[in-house]
Symmetry: C2
Subunit: 316 residues, 2 copies
């Protein structure tokens, strides 16, 4: 088998909560997303339209604490020893982490001495999606790679940086995803399609780019279905980010996929956990129960014009 | 053919020069690397031991100007159209570039509309080495990928950040590397070996880590030779970084490779151009003349404990 199977996913979400009211009062008025007009409107929008009451944030914990929390959760299962990890991918944007060289840090903390390290960035909230694709590319090209860990942490440095316009409010978390060769149960990557829109390189949350996003969401999904040869009847579950679903659900419908398949349990629970929404939703969908042989379509986008859609096959 | 061949390398080095004397007087005394004692010692060391008189810096140019300069150089050759690039890798540490989302920026500037974008970071001065490996992994796993561009830019934000202890003084530059499938001439990647030393995650230039570095330089080179099955007689040229050669040359000798094969033309010419030393030296070695079928060993290291050694085969 030339691809890897995601056999275990840990997600560490800090206990500390901050209500959207608290969050809202802690940012300067000038930093409040301007698209809705007055302050009260945006707060109301976060509560009513996006359904947030509170989000989880690191509080007194450091980014490295979150990362260690996620790695502890995984290694404590005793299904893999840190020294057996062949490759460690960090899925990481530099502006959501404080610790530099977090891959080397994790390697040292857990004695992952054999691991080669690679940091995948540039896709913002789709970095984990990109890392899963890259981990499979490496595994396909080097058959000696048996066990891969993908790690990521999100620890947003200020309250105002948590507001992603009308899309969502960012919470903090960390993840560790174990991928293994020749595993019999878990998520196996079938196909990934990536699209990039250079025009969005200059991120400006005050601009309404919904029409452009709609075009590229649809393009990415359409091309995924064409290239993979899959259609709605082959897809059992859909995973999207835990943020504003209005636009993406429209696009899912537009490509003849059924939005009833979208996993929505975590939509308003913790906040939008950047690219950690993906492993969180995969883990919780698995906990809830996935049929053997089911196919899961995942879609992630980054604020800079990154769109990554994948299909996984689940084996129980 | 499942691997890619590096068919063209552009390196954009700005004209602006700064002498090491000028550089030295522009940084606070407290920021002068302390390993040699007084200020005068370090300046003398840079001039006599490392042989620097001046380095190239961006001057009034922005990081994006350098990047555009490198891409213009490559695309002006008319050997590839931007719209034919399937994949764009940015080899990039966030602290040596000012423009965020530089991959999307480059995509937009040059209409590389089909390109998927991936940013490889975390190896500091060995990021280009890592990106070449990853580009080949992607190409091996997806045979539809024909043309890949690796781009990188180094634009150091302050004079004091140019001083890498006793290792070198960083200059500014940008590169574009074209990799093509089924090409008949250029550098084809034969093998890459990566080693990572987690202990160095906390970069501290005041600590002397030469013994550790020596151990890991040697380990990385030894394992490369063992795993690839190559020995000194098979290697025609060696490319290292344009910085302090004392330690790496010792290690090259220690693994029975001949240091006379080290390409040294650019050692003191422009400064240490971060991970752009590799494409610069590959380009200039090629200009100087490489025999058909020759093998080139390259070695790059990152300040955070990254060590990447590769073997390339050159076809004329």
């Amino acid at each position: 088998m030339s691809t890897l199977t995601i056999t275990n996913i840990s997600v560490y979400i800090p206990d500390h909560r901050i209500t959207v009211d608290e969050l809202f009062t802690s940012i300067p008025v000038a930093s409040i997303p301007s698209f809705t007009g007055g302050d009260g409107d945006y707060l109301q929008y976060l509560k009513s339209d996006l359904g947030y009451s509170s989000i989880r944030t690191a509080g007194k914990l450091k980014d490295t604490d979150l990362l260690i929390g996620a790695a502890d959760q995984l290694f404590d299962l005793d299904i893999v020893a840190p020294e057996d990890i062949d490759f460690l991918f960090m899925a990481q944007e530099s502006d959501v982490i404080q610790k530099e060289n977090s891959g080397q840090f994790l390697q040292m903390e857990f004695d992952m001495n054999r691991a080669k390290i690679m940091t995948i960035s540039g896709h913002h909230c789709a970095n984990v999606d990109a890392a899963i694709y890259m981990a499979n590319c490496v595994a396909k090209s080097d058959l000696s790679i048996e066990k891969v860990l993908i790690a990521g942490v999100v620890s947003i440095p200020s309250a105002e940086k948590r507001m992603v316009g009308s899309y969502g409010v960012l919470g903090d978390a960390a993840t560790c995803i174990l991928l293994e060769r020749n595993a019999t149960s878990g998520f196996e990557l079938v196909y990934t399609h990536m699209v990039s829109l250079g025009l969005l390189h200059e991120i400006d949350l005050t601009k309404d780019v919904s029409l452009l996003l709609c075009k590229y969401y649809t393009l990415c999904l359409t091309e995924l279905m064409e290239k993979s040869g899959f259609s709605d009847k082959d897809i059992d579950h859909i995973i999207i980010q835990n943020a504003n679903t209005a636009l993406i659900n429209q696009c899912i419908s537009a490509v003849d996929l059924n939005t009833a398949k979208v996993f929505s349990d975590n939509l308003n629970t913790y906040g939008h956990l950047d690219s950690i929404d993906l492993p969180l939703n995969m883990r919780d969908l698995m906990k809830k129960g996935i049929n053997d042989g089911a196919h899961i379509l995942t879609f992630g986008s980054g604020i800079n014009g990154s769109f990554i859609a994948s299909i996984f096959k689940y084996s129980a």
